[in-house]
Symmetry: C2
Subunit: 226 residues, 2 copies
DNA sequence: GTTGCAGATATTGTATACAATTCTGTTCCG
DNA sequence: CGGAACAGAATTGTATACAATATCTGCAAC
């Protein structure tokens, strides 16, 4: 993290977002301004701008006079995030399938290959990140920058949701669904891609434990609105 | 603007967003940090945080070392915004119709009434703002906070798009569509509400002039990537 | 042993100082 | 008269100082 590189608020935010996405920074982690400033070798000014950006993406929660924490999405929020994804992603997958070039198809293939490699190497965080990038890449291929930005945010938030609510099951169901999507893309079958994405998202929520019991409030304080 | 009130970055951002939404701050307007700091009676620190927030909502464009400007969405971006809205809003209108209480119905009626009053008083900016709030309110009633946040951003961006690309026509087509939606809500007809919202959005884009000619690059500089 | 308070410590919130960059207007030369 | 070049002004970028607030520690009282 202490690269000789020149950090800006954008690069710091991206670096932190990736760390969150890869579960190196679990939900609830305190992100102290001084700590980060020292870690990156910059002043608190830049750190604050980065944290502000992440809070706007709902990846970080800012508590007045108490600091920044990696967000802990509620069960409610978890449902909403996947509800939003189900509105955006299936149609976007259809558009992508209809515009897909061979080069873009190769990019998606490479993504799945890298994810496999990461899994084999035991790098689960990296595999999770790549799995998310697959979805973002689809939005990019659909050539819808605006929708892509929304999906990108939702994907990152989904990573937090998975960290909190994932229940152990088969680990490879993910790549299976992505393989099926890839086939639909390869045959430029938009309707199929839309349907597969819809099912994929339903499978994802089904793999979560979103019962209302045992809400995350790690501390009693959280349970009582500070 | 020079209230004795206590301004925070959030309230300043909200105040600016409303000004943009009501077309009091047209696209391209320079938002100088010192000017704003003086206008609100605060330091540049707060102003910068507010501008950063607005830039994340794509309402303000930050140009390095040159300052903040009210965004000027391109034709491309305009299309994308309405594409995104068409993915989110019709389904959300359906959900809203199915959950609508009588009190919420009254809120929507009041909104339309206020919009009419604003139009009669010649307060076009306020009417435009209320017209947008109608859409946001629907998302709120659908009880989907996450989708609501996206729609809220898209509505504000739509206001910029209208400022740039609106072609004069019948002025009241807006309230007509909202009236029709209200009837669908009153009869809790989700399918109809979804269909009406879809048509409403199509009418909106149709009322814009999105031909690719004469793109906004006010200055030559803009045309050449700075 | 727990509770309550007080001072000390640490962390965030805001303002401001200074550096870096851009803009502007004038001068000088062709 | 037109344009390059420069100096000064204005504006933004970053760091830091200080204020406000929250947290922690220790001691005393019950």
């Amino acid at each position: 993290m202490t690269d000789p590189k020149l950090w800006t608020s954008e690069t710091v935010a991206a670096d932190l977002e990736r760390a969150v996405h890869e579960h190196r920074l679990p939900p609830g982690t305190k992100l102290g301004e001084d700590d980060l400033a020292e870690a990156y070798g910059i002043s608190r000014t830049i750190v604050r701008a980065a944290l502000l950006a992440l809070s706007h993406r709902h990846l970080v929660e800012l508590k007045r006079n108490r600091g920044a924490f990696v967000a802990q999405p509620s069960v409610r929020e978890a449902r909403e995030v996947f509800e939003a994804r189900s509105l955006l992603e299936p149609r976007t997958a259809r558009s992508a399938a209809e515009r897909m070039t061979d080069e873009e198809l190769d990019l998606l293939r490479a993504n799945i290959r890298d994810e496999h490699a990461a899994l084999d190497a035991g790098e689960y965080g990296r595999a999770l990140f790549l799995s998310g990038q697959f979805h973002v890449e689809i939005a990019r291929i659909a050539d819808q920058t605006t929708v892509e930005a929304f999906i990108s945010e939702l994907i990152s938030r989904s990573s937090l949701i998975i960290a909190l609510y994932w229940r152990r099951r088969a680990a490879l169901c993910e790549t299976q669904a992505h393989h099926a999507l890839l086939d639909a893309f390869a045959s430029r079958n938009g309707a199929l891609a839309e349907q597969l994405m819809k099912s994929h998202l339903l499978d994802l929520v089904a793999s979560l434990d979103l019962r209302n019991v045992s809400q995350p409030p790690t501390s009693l304080r959280e349970a009582l609105n500070r």
